[in-house]
């Protein structure tokens, strides 16, 4: 964080709590907010049948679903970074007609219900979809009901989080550094790689974490576009939903497994890469 631009330092100074006065106005709503987020989780913990947790973890279906979830969410995050960072740069830095419209379009997957997103993906990339039809005709390639479809569904719902987060970071970054690098003779590519990217690094990371978490929890678009088949397209959220049909207890156990594993990974990454962010 030593690279941080001057404005954020100033902000940090102003926010520091003045001695002798407790900021009730901030702390009270903050605690209510935290309780609101944590309370449902406490409900899960209270109802969890702890005794069966170990045996459930050993079930091959559960391990299969967990592995599929982790790998597809990671692949989806990688795709989202590769496509989303340049898209964010385009939206934040390039002047072109229709930029406002493009920016609004990026948020479409956030607004539409994921199940509708799944149907939209089927209509575009399905066996009879506008693009999928040709994939089938020319290459004999059908996407639905494959792990690739799982990744596609996750990218669709998760990439907007990354784009919005990176675009915000780009707008907040001081452009004078880039201009200085350019006047010193750096090419556009070099400026982007050596100046812009390091400046918005925390934004990219935060966006990637958001996207990964969203991809990991993705349900509606996945079950609609990729279907549900154990070992191939059944991710943890799908397994949890179906377990819920038979017994809420087993659904709770599976949810806790997913929550535990994702928290473990996020905390580990945070400590290693970001220090105290």
């Amino acid at each position: 964080m030593t690279r941080a631009s001057p404005p954020s330092e100033a902000a940090g100074g102003r926010l520091r709590v003045r001695a002798g006065r407790f900021p009730w106005l901030l702390v009270v709503p903050a605690l209510i907010g935290l309780a609101f987020l944590v309370l449902p989780f406490a409900g899960l913990l209270a109802r969890a049948p702890w005794a069966t947790l170990g045996t459930r973890l050993l079930l091959p279906e559960v391990r299969g679903a967990l592995w599929l979830s982790l790998t597809t969410a990671t692949a989806a995050t990688a795709v989202a970074v590769v496509l989303g960072v340049p898209l964010a740069w385009l939206l934040a830095r390039a002047e072109f007609p229709g930029r406002r419209v493009a920016r609004a379009l990026v948020t479409v997957p956030l607004v539409i219900p994921p199940v509708v997103g799944g149907v939209a993906l089927l209509l575009a990339l399905g066996r009879r979809g506008i693009l999928g039809r040709h994939l089938d005709e020319w290459f004999g390639l059908t996407l639905p009901f494959t792990p690739v479809a799982v990744v596609i569904a996750q990218v669709f719902v998760a990439m907007p989080f990354l784009v919005i987060s990176v675009e915000g970071a780009l707008r907040g970054a001081d452009r004078r550094y880039e201009e200085a690098a350019a006047t010193l003779g750096a090419s556009r590519a070099v400026v982007f790689r050596r100046v812009t990217l390091p400046m918005v690094g925390p934004g990219v990371l935060a966006g990637a974490v958001l996207a990964w978490a969203r991809a990991l929890g993705e349900f509606g678009a996945t079950i609609t576009f990729a279907g549900n088949f154990p070992g191939r397209t059944q991710t943890m959220p799908l397994a949890i939903y179906l377990a819920m049909q038979e017994s809420p207890e087993s659904a709770i156990v599976l949810s806790l497994v997913l929550l535990g594993v994702s928290l473990l990974i996020l905390v580990a990454l945070r400590d290693r890469w970001v220090g105290a962010v």
Binding site: L123, R128, G227, F229, L242
Partner: protein, 258 residues
């Protein structure tokens, strides 16, 4: 001043949104002086069209009562009832779910079976894979969607396939029967096992009957719940559903009488 006005506008919008969400009295009722009672019916999603029609009849005969529905998957509803959701009547799409509710002490009357639903093979309009019978579904080149075995239509499909001795590896185990039907209508799968009522309601998919469907019929059952606040109207609703008058409506929708 600007900020205050913006806040007021936001609050106004919020109020308007809340008002829009609030239940609106249906027209045609009495002047409003009389307090209306609300009968809450939890019913399997496949009963949506039929129950809504029966609900209109019920309200016409009993203007003092408004019928409210909660349509969802039977097991979701049973879970909600188990967690204390305020419901007067429960109609499930299979007797297994109802039995679980009864065993949990949630039913106040003996569950009664009112209709039966049987399976059909649903195929896209032009039947691209040329499906004619259940055994065609075991062809590895045929893409089939089945319901997951955790939901009633999946349990019925497994029973029918077992009775026929046909082994099917589906490309997907769908979460409910409508999802399986949608994939058929879109042509993503060549066939799916769905209910006769779903084929009837679908404008696009075609249904193929098969003999083994008889062995895997779903018995829809209904019961008044122990938590019911409107016991009288709840019993009246149960009577209406079991009556000859309703049989016709069920028949039109593709249900079989028991």
């Amino acid at each position: 001043m600007d900020r205050r006005r913006a806040a007021a506008a936001a609050a106004g919008l919020l109020l308007a949104a809340l008002a829009a969400c609030a239940p609106v009295e249906e027209g045609g009722g009495p002047g409003g002086a009389q307090a209306q009672r609300t009968l809450t019916v939890f019913a399997a999603a496949s009963l949506t069209e039929v129950f809504e029609e029966l609900g209109e009849r019920f309200e016409r005969d009993r203007p003092d009562i408004r019928v409210e529905f909660n349509f969802a998957g039977s097991s979701d509803l049973a879970n909600q009832i188990g967690e204390g959701a305020p419901a007067d009547v429960f109609a499930s799409a299979d007797s297994r779910t109802m039995r679980a509710a009864a065993d949990g002490g949630r039913t106040a009357t003996d569950p009664a079976v009112f209709v039966r639903n049987t399976l059909r093979i649903a195929v896209p309009p032009d039947n691209p894979a040329g499906i004619e019978s259940l055994s065609d579904l075991s062809d590895p080149g045929v893409k089939v969607a089945l319901c997951a075995e955790e939901v009633p239509c999946g349990a019925a499909a497994a029973e029918a396939l077992g009775a026929a001795g046909v082994n099917v590896t589906p490309v997907s185990r769908e979460r409910d029967v409508k999802a399986a039907l949608t994939k058929t209508e879109l042509g993503e799968v060549d066939a799916a096992l769905v209910y006769r009522t779903d084929v009837r309601a679908s404008g696009e998919a075609e249904g193929i009957a098969f003999p083994e469907a008889k062995q895997a019929a779903n018995d829809y059952s209904i019961a008044v719940l122990t938590g019911a606040e409107q016991t009288g109207p709840a019993r009246a609703w149960m009577e209406l559903v079991l009556s000859d008058e309703s049989a016709e409506v069920f028949d039109d929708a593709g249900f079989t009488a028991v």
